[in-house]
């Protein structure tokens, strides 16, 4: 079953790429193809990695929560909350401390805020047995409402001014490696964090006692309870972990890329949390697979930004901006039904209170 899904996910990813190539090769004129291929450079790779950060972190968080039996579809809301908090705190600290310290202060506060909101979600779903999907939608809509409201209070506008950002870290020797060097080893700190978090998450989930508990809590909570492990505590830990991860992702988006908060429409997060959910479904709950899927979506997004700037293509930006969203729909349709954890979506009450 697991292998079948992995194949399906792989095939889905491949199909998207092939489909894209097909469209570009046969439908699109040759000079377009030439112009597009010219875009595939280290700069694009670097941009794709950077754009992966919020998606991949949301996906990692979603994996832990859902594996433990709590479907957290509020990831988008967690990203919004952390993106907003990181900017607000960095803005407040600006001028009082060094710019780098202000940015890291914002980063820390963002992780805290996202974890607190995830904690609220955990209490609501675990303690009060709220419906997980509705509560997840609520987390999203609360954050979507609160961030512009608070922006308006603080900055008298739904958008913030620019704030100090997290500067790139250059790894001395490795940066000279061809292709990979400039693409990876001259990156934002949050990109390194992501590249570390992905294998660590995989190890945590598949090779440690905690990971076993998380998986058991989602598949067969009664058995885990019988074995003497507190299911509720495991679920709380997993949901809080999804908050920590999303916090890093949201702060990475705000402080590592954009440098300000944008609260109009769907805010600057603009669907990345939902794309994160798609990414881990496509990656079949495997952190590595989820990262690769995030990278695929981020790559499409990076390409999309580039394409807007190519004069000879002359495509309307609004048309190009649709591409990543359409890709998500296509991927979801190709991946189809994933095998979600047996007890996901259900509350669990231990017999011995």
């Amino acid at each position: 079953m697991v292998e079948r899904n992995a194949y399906v996910a792989g095939a889905a990813g491949g199909a998207v790429v092939v489909l894209a190539l097909f469209v570009f090769a046969f439908v699109v004129p040759v000079d377009w193809v030439v112009a597009l291929v010219a875009q595939l450079d280290t700069g694009l790779l670097s941009a794709a990695l950077r754009l992966s950060v919020p998606i991949a972190f949301a996906a990692l968080g979603g994996i832990f929560a859902e594996k433990s039996g709590v479907i957290n579809i509020g990831l988008e809301g967690l990203l919004i909350a952390s993106a907003f908090t990181s900017i607000a705190v960095a803005w407040a600290l600006e001028g009082r401390v060094a710019p780098t310290a202000a940015a890291w202060g914002g980063f820390g506060a963002a992780v805290l805020a996202s974890t607190l909101l995830a904690g609220l979600f955990a209490v609501v779903t675990i303690r009060y047995e709220a419906d997980q999907i509705i509560a997840g939608l609520a987390v999203w809509l609360v954050a979507l409402g609160f961030a512009p409201f608070a922006s308006q209070i603080i900055w008298q506008s739904v958008n913030s001014p620019a704030v100090p950002t997290l500067d790139n870290w250059v790894v001395p020797v490795l940066v000279n490696v061809p292709v990979l060097g400039p693409a990876v080893f001259d990156s934002n700190p949050t990109v390194y964090l992501m590249l570390v978090a992905v294998p660590v998450s995989w190890y945590l989930l598949n090779r440690t006692a905690f990971g076993r508990w998380v998986r058991a809590s989602g598949e067969n909570p009664k058995a885990l309870d019988t074995a003497g492990v507190n299911v509720t505590r495991v679920r709380y830990a997993s949901v809080l972990l999804s908050g920590v991860f999303s916090g890093v992702g949201g702060a990475g988006l705000a402080l590592g890329q954009v440098g300000q908060f944008i609260g109009s429409g769907q805010t600057m997060v603009s669907g990345r949390g939902w794309i994160g959910i798609t990414a881990y479904l496509m990656g079949n709950y495997n952190p590595i697979g989820a990262f690769l899927s995030s990278f695929l979506f981020a790559g499409l997004n990076a390409l999309q930004f580039r394409v807007q700037q190519i004069a000879e293509l002359n495509i309307a930006p609004s048309l190009v901006q649709m591409v990543p969203f359409v890709a998500v729909i296509v991927v979801l349709a190709l991946v189809g039904k994933t095998r979600i954890p047996e007890a996901a979506g259900e509350g669990y009450e231990s017999g011995d209170d």
Binding site: Y128, I134, A135, F146, V158, Q266, S318, F325, A344
Partner: protein, 436 residues
Amino acid sequence: MTEDEPPARDARADGGDAGDGDRTDVEAGEDVERTDVDAGEMPSWSESAASRIVTASAKERVFISVAAFVASVLVGSVLVYVSGFLVDCPGGGFLGSCYNPFLVYYYLFVDPFIGGFNVALVMKESVLLLFTGLSVAVAFRAGLFNIGSQGQLVLGALATALALIFVAPYAPGGVLGSLVLVPFALFVGAAVGGLYGAIPGALKAYADANEVITTIMLNFVATNLVFFLISAYFQDPESGSVQTVAIPEAARLRPIVPFFEGAQFSVVALALGLGLVGGTFYVLANTAFGFDLRTSGLQAAAADYAGVDSNKLVVSSMTLSGALAGVGGAVYVMMVMARYRTGIPSLGFDGITVSILAGNNPLGVAPAALLFGVMKAGSLSIDFSLGVPKQLVGVLRGLVILFVAMPEFFRMLARYTPYGPDVDRAVATDGGDDDG
């Protein structure tokens, strides 16, 4: 509201209450849910969610909705009070804060009823919410989350505007024109909204694509598509903003009643909305399609077993849901904007709150839309009169859903008061009775 009821009384016992609109689905809900607990099949996101909310008894649902609304307004006012410390105000304030939460209540819930202009504003917001509220509710009853009402409304609205502009030269003017154009526009809005709703329905039915995510993605697609279509082909040359030219005068929905003169509100739209409330309720409660839809929402396996083509049902319920949102888009164009202009308010997301507040019952959508409409109108006056950002209504929108989602919280609260409705229901899992 429930103080004369003995607390332990079972919900089904009062199923015969006169005027209890959703008697039939309470019965259906109870029976199916009880057997569904240990079905042991693969849980689907939406099935588990829909069933739990739908199965609360009618009385309990009203209690939960009211309690959730009160709770979110309370939390909202604390938020406003705290926010008041962050802003500067010249004329002092209230207990150290610039914002007085009691004045906020006044402007949110009392001021909207003072004066013809304010009442018209309330009516305008409420009428618009009827359509998206119904749209979300229909999908919900089928066990589907239509978060895409927004996109369906946006495309329905654009199609309506374009169709009206296209036929304008051939259409008669005056009353005759209105009689032809308005139904035509509503049909176009419903058709396009319905088609756009059918897409996630088909993806769900035939490719198992999760409808929460596809509908949200389709919202983004719709926004971009509309922006592209207008700026590339249908831009009003005399305007700086991205918008179409005006629709013909005969297709405008006018206030008609002198009291609402000059407002962006039409009694015709209100009648249409209320008609759809009744019609949707009738279809869900009294037709075979409605029965299949509700059964699928409660327990898809049972519906399957009963011979319902569940794939077809998913597509048709999403189409109906999208069509209702599309009608909302048509009304928005004809009643409010008189053209299509980008930056449509988030009526689709508000519709989620309205539907959830209504317990996903079409009849409940009317009072829920009014309640939320009052709040939306009130949010404009708190912004104008007190300087509290009108975005507050977005916070309340989310909080309401959060509180409705946790009935257990209110049951626990209820245990400490003598007014708790059906306190013992949570433990009354006495297997499958068959009194339906």
